[in-house]
Each structure stands twice: as structure tokens, then as C-alpha cells.
């Protein structure tokens, strides 16, 4: 039983690695592989838009993965690789969009809503406590 659950756990852990290994990729080192998996999982596949570049088996994703790996092997930094993709496909490829005027609503909107909610709550509480003061102790 324990052996079975271990095997199951191993299979589950291996699943994402298998998924990103659709096309055999040759890594120079485990670190490079780690960096590759990290980077491609932050990038969006343009074809299956709810999948990352690491997960998608669309032909375009495969080609872009090869591009990413080649750029890594040519000593490009993560930022340079992201810039390469953004120049072609726009900020859309980034799962982590940059803070800029067009994304202010996205980044700051939730905090503004939180402030509005807190203000509304504070007003409601104050009004209610004033009401109960006015009414005085009930008989």
C-alpha cells in the first residue's frame, strides 16, 4: 500500500516534467533546466491561451520553447528573452504583466476597492453606533 502511494506520488510529481518534455530538449545542466522550466511557465502560449509555454503542446509553443532554450544557451538573460517575446506578441505573453498606465487598474484596482469597502464599513459602523446612542438604553 505504501509502495503504491509512493509510486502514485512519484507519477504525480513527474507529470509536469513529462508535460514540458514533449519535444526532447537537451539541457547543459540541471540548473539550466530549472531556469528553463521556471521561465517558460511564466510565459503564455498564444495558441492555447490558458496554458503556459511550458505546458502547451501546440507546435508554436514547441518552437518558442526551442527559441527560449537557444537564447539561454547563447547567454541571454531572462529579461532579454522576455523582451524578445514581448516585441513579437505584446505584454499578452507575460503571465506577470508589468506595472504601466494601461495595467494600473489591474494592479491598483483591488486596493482601491478595498479602501472603498473599508470606508463604507467604517461609515456604517459609525452610523449604527450613533443610532444606538440616540435611542439610549432600552427598557
Amino acid at each position: 500500500m505504501r509502495a503504491l502511494s509512493r509510486m502514485l506520488a512519484a507519477a504525480l510529481l513527474a507529470a509536469p516534467i513529462l508535460a514540458s518534455a514533449i519535444a526532447p530538449m537537451e539541457f547543459d545542466s540541471p540548473q539550466q533546466r530549472q531556469r528553463f522550466v521556471q521561465l517558460t511557465s511564466e510565459l503564455r502560449c498564444l495558441v492555447c491561451q490558458n496554458q503556459s509555454l511550458a505546458d502547451s503542446d501546440a507546435p508554436l509553443a514547441q518552437e518558442l520553447r526551442e527559441d527560449v532554450l537557444n537564447m539561454m544557451k547563447n547567454g541571454k538573460s531572462d529579461d532579454e528573452i522576455r523582451d524578445f517575446l514581448v516585441a513579437r506578441y505584446g505584454d499578452f505573453v507575460l503571465y506577470d504583466p508589468p506595472v504601466q498606465p494601461s495595467t494600473w487598474a489591474l494592479w491598483f484596482g483591488p486596493f482601491i476597492l478595498l479602501l472603498v469597502g473599508a470606508a463604507a464599513l467604517a461609515m456604517a459602523v459609525r452610523r449604527r453606533s450613533r443610532l444606538s446612542d440616540d435611542e439610549g438604553p432600552k427598557a
Binding site: L46, V47, Q49, P59, L60, E63, L64, D67, V86, A87, R88, Y89, G90, F92
Partner: protein
């Protein structure tokens, strides 16, 4: 007091408006960051001949359409008639960019359905297509005389798009002298 009653209505109206706009947007269309930027450099053989090469430089000086297609692409067959009709008017030169395809398959497709293109660039490993930010086929680019991308249409071309958007823009780009 009255204001307080209106508040939920206002919130509802704003959210409703946002949702309504959201419903009418197609999330699969990714706006290209390449509009009004120089087209990427390319030099590719054509589908019909490995010896013939066409580069960006060869096409400078004319306003032309670059239509991304592939033999495996069903939607490309849907627009094929529209592309053929447009090319036959000779109002704008139409070049093909064959994407992620095999030469035999591409050639067979052209033989079978007709070849509307002046030439089709052959890009089997999508090197140039990726530089153009292609993520699916069909896609259509309009490139001006200076080699700048002026317009991109994603998905199968329709007569409305051709007559309402592409041809007027071709006219404008020609008269602008750029």
C-alpha cells in the same frame, strides 16, 4: 436617502456595462505590438522553388499584403476564395507566407485550390513567422513602401474586411507616399 437607493443601481449599471463590453470582445485576438513598426527582416525561398528567394528588401517600394497560410489550416481554405478575388483585382500585390508546413503539402494545396499569390514565402520552421508575431493562421499583414507594418488582421479574411478596411488603407498608404 434617495441617493442611497440609487447607489446599488449605479454599481449594477457600471458592472453591467463592463460585462457587456467584455462579452463582445474576442480574447483570442491578441493585438500586435508590431503595428507601425518596421517589418522584421526576412529572406526566404518560395514554396514553388528553393532557388528563388524573396527578401524584405526586394519588396520595398510597394504596398503589399502578406497573407499567412498553411495547408493544414482549415480557416485558410475558408478565406481562400476572398484572397483569390482580391488578388485577381490587382489592386494590391498579395504575397503568401507559408507557415509551419511541408513543401509538398503546400504545393499540393496550391495546385488543388488555386494559387492566388504572386509568390509564397516558405517558412517551414516558422522562424520568420515568429518574428512577425504570427500565432495562428490565417493572419494578414499590410506592409507599406518603407517596409513598415501598417495593419494586421487575424482570422479568415472576409469581403467586408477587404473592402471596408484593407483596400481603403491601401489607397491611403499609396497617396500618403509612404
Amino acid at each position: 436617502m434617495k441617493l442611497r437607493l440609487l447607489l446599488p443601481l449605479a454599481v449594477f449599471a457600471i458592472l453591467g456595462g463592463l460585462f457587456y463590453v467584455g462579452l463582445n470582445r474576442d480574447p483570442s485576438l491578441v493585438p500586435s505590438p508590431l503595428i507601425d513598426k518596421p517589418a522584421p527582416d526576412f529572406s526566404l525561398p518560395t514554396v514553388s522553388s528553393d532557388g528563388e528567394r524573396i527578401s524584405k528588401r526586394d519588396l520595398l517600394g510597394e504596398v503589399y499584403l502578406l497573407n499567412v497560410w498553411a495547408s493544414w489550416c482549415y480557416a485558410c481554405r475558408l478565406e481562400h476564395e476572398v484572397v483569390t478575388a482580391l488578388a485577381s483585382t490587382h489592386r494590391v500585390p498579395v504575397y503568401g507566407l507559408n507557415y509551419n508546413d511541408k513543401r509538398e503539402d503546400a504545393q499540393r494545396w496550391l495546385d488543388q485550390f488555386g494559387d492566388p499569390y504572386l509568390a509564397s514565402l516558405y517558412d517551414p520552421d516558422a522562424r520568420v513567422s515568429i518574428d512577425f508575431g504570427v500565432y495562428g493562421a490565417p493572419e494578414t499583414f499590410l506592409i507599406d513602401r518603407t517596409g513598415t507594418i501598417r495593419y494586421k488582421y487575424i482570422g479568415p479574411l472576409t469581403p467586408d474586411v477587404v473592402n471596408g478596411e484593407i483596400l481603403p488603407l491601401v489607397q491611403r498608404l499609396r497617396s500618403a507616399g509612404s
